[in-house]
């Protein structure tokens, strides 16, 4: 039986299998069709109907269930929803268990939430460091300008204030006002 306890392990293994079987296009289609439009349709419905309050409900519930030790922080303002991951439960599982069957597991988040948020009228600013730390700012698609300065939305929980957050931009994967997992800037 495929279980939920080690879900992140076989989920990541599946990305690699799909890419070997049908190329990158199949992985993208999997994230959008199987995860966004099927598995996580409860998230999709909630966020399309309620916007930022729906994000607070969805991620507030699911992250607490996945990470009871609170390796994350959620903050928001009227026009922005923000998440800071200090110890991603998903990426952390892979790192602790030495699992690596796909070139960048972290891409799956943008792979399914990017299209979901696009359909709901939102865009994403995001950075991840491949070590279980990342941040997300989600704004209406009409938003102008860049992302918030460190600490402005999340206060001292902003992951960018960590002493071990890379100072070298080359060590981060970055998205700016994006919805497509391939619109990554290195």
């Amino acid at each position: 039986m495929i279980g939920c306890y080690d879900f992140c392990g076989h989920y990541e293994w599946t990305f690699g299998w799909l890419e070997r079987t049908g190329g990158h296009a199949l992985v993208r289609e999997y994230w959008n069709e199987a995860i966004n439009h099927d598995s996580q349709r409860h998230a999709r419905d909630l966020i399309r109907n309620e916007g930022i309050p729906g994000m607070l409900k969805y991620w507030g519930h699911t992250l607490l269930e996945e990470s009871p030790s609170l390796g994350f922080n959620i903050s928001h303002r009227e026009d922005v929803y923000r998440m800071d991951f200090h110890d991603c439960p998903s990426r952390g599982f892979l790192l602790r268990n030495g699992l690596n069957n796909y070139r960048d597991y972290c891409d799956h988040c943008m792979g399914w939430t990017g299209p979901m948020l696009s359909e709901a009228g939102y865009v994403v600013d995001h950075e991840h460091n491949h070590r279980g730390q990342c941040w997300w700012e989600i704004r209406p698609a009409s938003a102008q300008g860049g992302h918030a300065a460190p600490g402005l939305v999340a206060g001292d929980q902003d992951v960018r204030l960590r002493p071990d957050w890379p100072k070298d931009p080359a060590k981060l994967d970055r998205y700016t006002k994006a919805n497509d997992p391939d619109h990554k800037m290195k």
């Binding site: 279980g3 939920c4 080690d6 879900f7 293994w13 299998w17």
Partner: protein
């Protein structure tokens, strides 16, 4: 149910049980593959996962025999929320008697359309893992309660009849 013992599971987490909403993703993954790639390729996916991702378990089973199989399944189901399972060791086999499948229970509670082939995944995955460990595996029942049998080849289990595996439904 015993608490999971780290050494009995190949991959361990910091929390004692998984998040059951992940069963939604497993079901959706099967639906995507069955529609897009077809049944034969889905079966190959499960067999390759059994030999690849689960290789550390298979090695444990090869080395530890049926006792390792029993320990693994006790630890496995202790980490799956909502399961009701008894693992019975006999001289030539281990029976995993699933009274309530945690995945189907959660999918039903969430009102999810379950792929009808869902229960077959346990056979394709389990038999690939058993074969890698020098064992045989059979499955009977399904749709919420079933019995997985892992046995030494000398037990002479009858060939798997796929008709013995029930289709899953809401």
């Amino acid at each position: 149910m015993n608490q999971p013992v780290a050494s009995d599971l190949p991959y361990t987490d910091t929390k004692p049980q998984g998040s059951p909403d992940f069963y939604y993703a497993v079901n959706s993954t099967f639906r995507f593959m069955l529609r897009r790639l077809g049944r034969d390729v889905w079966q190959r996916y499960l067999e390759e996962m059994g030999r690849g991702y689960f290789a550390p378990v298979n090695r444990q089973w090869s080395k530890g025999g049926l006792n390792a199989v029993a320990r693994y399944w006790r630890a496995f189901f202790a980490a799956e929320p909502g399961s009701a399972v008894e693992v019975v060791e006999q001289p030539d086999r281990v029976e995993v008697r699933v009274r309530e499948c945690p995945a189907l229970k959660h999918l039903r509670a969430g009102g999810r359309e379950i792929v009808r082939e869902y229960c077959q995944h346990c056979y394709y995955l389990g038999s690939a893992r058993a074969e890698a460990a020098g064992l045989t595996m059979r499955l009977s029942g399904g749709n919420g309660s079933c019995c997985h049998t892992y046995a030494r080849p000398a037990a002479g289990l009858a060939p798997q009849d796929l008709q013995q595996i029930k289709e899953a439904c809401l």
